[in-house]
Amino acid sequence: MIELTRGYRFSASHRLHAPSLSEEENRELYGKCNNPFGHGHNYLLEVTARGPVNQETGTLLPVSSMDALVRQCVLSDFDMSNLNDSPAFSGARVPTTEILVEEIDRRLRQRWAEAFPGGGPWLHRVRVRETHNNSFQTSENHR
């Protein structure tokens, strides 16, 4: 078993504001992240696949297939966007990086089998680094 991690960068803006809370509660809770005009980050997404090495190719997976999947499921929607405009963050779903990493994990999982038919590698871990000082990771999926 081996793990391969690929990094992807995207830039997006967001505003943290929970609709069920008052203006004042939001200001207090989210502080500067509640700025009505929003603010942005250069996010780093790390996607980790785990599985056996294919003895014929010497690879865990075709990295180009992972790139295509991430482009399709994540980058095309989120890069250079305002996350609050995405249907993924409508209603009560505040675009915190916790909710963002869960959303990315869900999207990748949904299309994973199609991108990597016949089993083999599985989606092991998704991590999003919001700034150099904070990052958010889904639980590792040990099969």
Partner: protein, 138 residues
């Protein structure tokens, strides 16, 4: 406790199987298939697991670990074309997966019977791609 030591080497490689057609090589390895090769600044992170010694307060003397990485990996790999100059990559395709497993094989014997053990080998091929191997059957 886990302790990690880092080392760097620069090398070229080609991911190419001579028993396959050009088309198949392109399909599987993409740009990496160019038989003339291309290079990377590889970054190696080697992690040991152990407890600090009661007298020295160290899991392992990092000078010794540095020397092992130097002898087993950096000296043989640095500024080499892996496929042509570093066995077993004359027969094993030097994908980042296979390079990571080979580094594990070279390092693991140094830590058997010591108070600590090799926990993980992480190899960064670029800033956006790394492989982790922990000795599980590949």
């Amino acid at each position: 406790m886990l302790i990690t030591r880092r080392a760097e080497f620069s090398a070229s490689h080609a991911c190419y199987r001579s028993d396959w057609s050009e088309e198949r090589n392109q399909q599987v390895y993409g740009a990496s298939a160019n038989p003339r090769g291309h290079g990377h600044n590889y970054v190696l992170e080697v992690t040991l697991e152990g407890e600090p010694d009661e007298v020295t307060g160290m899991v392992m003397d990092l000078k010794d670990l540095k020397q092992i990485l130097e002898t087993e990996v950096v000296q043989p790999f640095d500024h080499r074309f892996l496929n042509h100059e570093v066995p077993p990559f004359d027969r094993v395709i030097p994908t980042p997966e296979n390079i990571t497993i080979e580094i594990w094989k070279r390092l693991a014997p140094h830590f058997s019977g010591t108070g600590h053990k090799l926990h993980q080998v992480r190899l960064w091929e670029t800033e956006d791609l790394y492989v982790d191997y922990r000795g599980e059957p590949a």
